[in-house]
Symmetry: C2
Subunit: 345 residues, 2 copies
DNA sequence: TAATTTAGCTAACACGTATTAGCAACACGA
DNA sequence: TCGTGTTGCTAATACGTGTTAGCTAAATTA
């Protein structure tokens, strides 16, 4: 590797001082440089293939121009999730548009939290986006209180830390309203996860809200809990179908769980959507390929990543962030499993 | 944000020199420090919540302890690919095991290549893993010749640049041998992409090799070209089935294309695998959910990421890399579409 | 002509660390 | 007493840049 050229060498070749080189190459305003000198410097820089050293620049500016993306989940889980790539894409776009770079860090939950705090403490980055925050993370809270630049992906109830999240309530409402609009009055629900998960509780709340807005009463006997897996969907649907007055539609707050639910319904001899309407949540890639194609709620994954990174960079730049709590809305993707494409009842 | 403590402040509090602080905190061997002094330094560091500044450390060591992962594809494409998350997972694991960090950079192909060379030129990273290298990338070649630490994910024919790649020949061979072992003698093939793509040509070569090893002659009329999409699979399969002597099995060198092929076969009234055996390539998540579940070749995505990062770090550390050309083998995942689970013919 | 401004540039400092060379005090053997 | 080690520490330098303060000579003004 040929030795790197420094600004000093450029200065020498151009016959000027290092300061002048800096002024020319950074286009510093207010500094009087003659056109001739400027050209000499530029020529020298090109001739020596000079590139300013990012580290030295970091040193003197005090800015790393880097943000960290910390994934605080089991790697297997985080990387299996189709959601992640799109979030990354959004972050990448926002970050590079601002001349920043993206540092990716995966911290298994069992690891001590200090591991990712090092990113901030040792000044590897100017701030972090934290995916999968945990409520028992005391170091996170302390870092925030000490003024660290942190944006969470997903919210922690009762915390004031800035976040970007999906409007789970609204999304569930959307799905439920859609089913209501198709004439269903007895609509079951299977959650995506135990209610300890904020997203899960919110989706249940959205379901309930839609029902009550429509003048229906919320009936707890129509609700079952899923836990991320297809199997939990099978079990839950099985129970719902065993009710003496079974629902004519089911909102499943997770596509994966919905796949299990679909399977259970078909196993019970029901045709979807003719005998039973089903609506999912997440819009996983698989959703459009299963039979019947799954009507579902699409999450703004790209937008979420983009918004989180954008807000973080604003915070770093000391720009005013009017509202550090971002909620992105969802879209309803209508396919075949809900019956909207059949003749209306 | 409370002011950061520096090593100098720790030194003052402990009543020693800054040098001593450095020796103690870095456990420098060969330096005689009395137990009492050592303790005083450690206490002071804790009391001041001291964390060494990564930037200053980079400055003096000349190492960034960072590697860049450059994705030189259209972001939409790169992030839609299920392959990426697993590769990232592998890299993340290798990288953190060596005390390195991972910088993620997405460069759309239309962008000037200089964009990612800045990562090296400006010393943001010690080396890069390049995904989706292009043969017309002259800056890449020049950087390599100048001694830059670069590992490619996937190979560029005729280049000496280190790479980690999947053994596409071997994988295709595996799939074809499997079909041969089931008694098929007239085996068609649909490629994953035009043959200009190395991976595509390699998979075709593996197919041919397996046939010839089995004493069969390679028949070009049984081969069709796919181009990444389901639609191309539909078309190709349609053509193969229209042959007057149609194949009894088809090896499709891409699961996505295979989905289209499956669809076409079923549309033609054929039952898979009874009437036609099909084998895919890639093992996309969908593969196990379609009906029939797709027999396919699984790529070592995690291993690929891990190996590439690992090798790069070795190069950076000036460790001898015995063989800078890594080829990882594939696994055959036997499901239902090939007929291996039926009674043997 | 003297005083002031201005154009065009540079000297010097700061950022926070790792590391080499060396210094003072003391112990020990001859 | 002198030389030779050894223990425990420190002074000083280097890394490559951004930036403030200031300097010289020429141009302008009074």
């Amino acid at each position: 590797m040929s030795k790197r050229a420094t600004a000093a060498e450029v200065a020498e070749l151009a016959g000027v001082s290092r300061t002048t080189v800096s002024f020319v190459l950074n286009n510093v305003v207010g500094m009087r440089i003659s056109e001739e000198t400027r050209q000499r410097v530029l020529d020298a820089a090109i001739k020596l293939d000079y590139h300013p050293d990012a580290t030295a620049r970091r040193m003197v500016t005090g800015q790393t121009k880097m943000i960290g993306f910390v994934i605080r989940q089991s790697p297997d889980q985080a990387f299996a999730d189709h959601f992640l790539p799109q979030v990354l894409h959004g972050m990448s776009k926002a970050v590079s548009a601002q001349g920043f770079h993206l540092l990716l860090e995966v911290i298994p939950p069992e690891n001590h939290t200090g591991v990712y705090m090092k990113l901030i403490n040792e000044r590897h980055v100017d701030g972090i986006v934290l995916s999968g925050p945990r409520s028992d993370d005391i170091e996170l809270r302390r870092a925030y209180e000490e003024g660290a630049n942190i944006v969470m992906l997903g919210q922690l109830p009762g915390e004031k830390i800035p976040f970007a999240d999906v409007n789970n309530v609204g999304g569930a409402q959307l799905a439920t309203q859609h089913l209501l609009g198709l004439g269903h009055t007895r609509i079951g629900m299977i959650t995506n996860a135990p209610l300890a998960y904020t997203a899960s509780a919110d989706r249940l709340a959205g379901y309930r809200l839609a029902l009550e807005e429509a003048g229906l009463i919320y009936d707890e006997s129509l609700v079952r809990l899923g836990n991320f897996t297809m199997e939990s969907g099978v079990k839950a649907m099985h129970e719902l179908l065993a009710l003496k007055e079974r629902p004519s539609a089911v909102f499943v707050a997770s596509d994966t769980v919905a796949l299990g639910a679909l399977q259970a319904a078909q196993l019970a001899g029901l045709k979807v959507p003719q005998d039973l309407a089903v609506c999912g949540f997440d819009d996983i890639p698989l959703a459009q390929y299963v039979d019947p194609a799954l009507t579902t709620v699409q999450l703004p994954a790209f937008g979420l990543g983009w918004a989180a990174a954008e807000m973080l960079i604003r915070m770093i730049s000391k720009d005013k962030v009017k509202n550090p709590y971002i909620m992105l809305n969802t879209d309803l993707i209508i396919r075949n499993s809900c019956g909207a494409r059949l003749a209306p009842k």
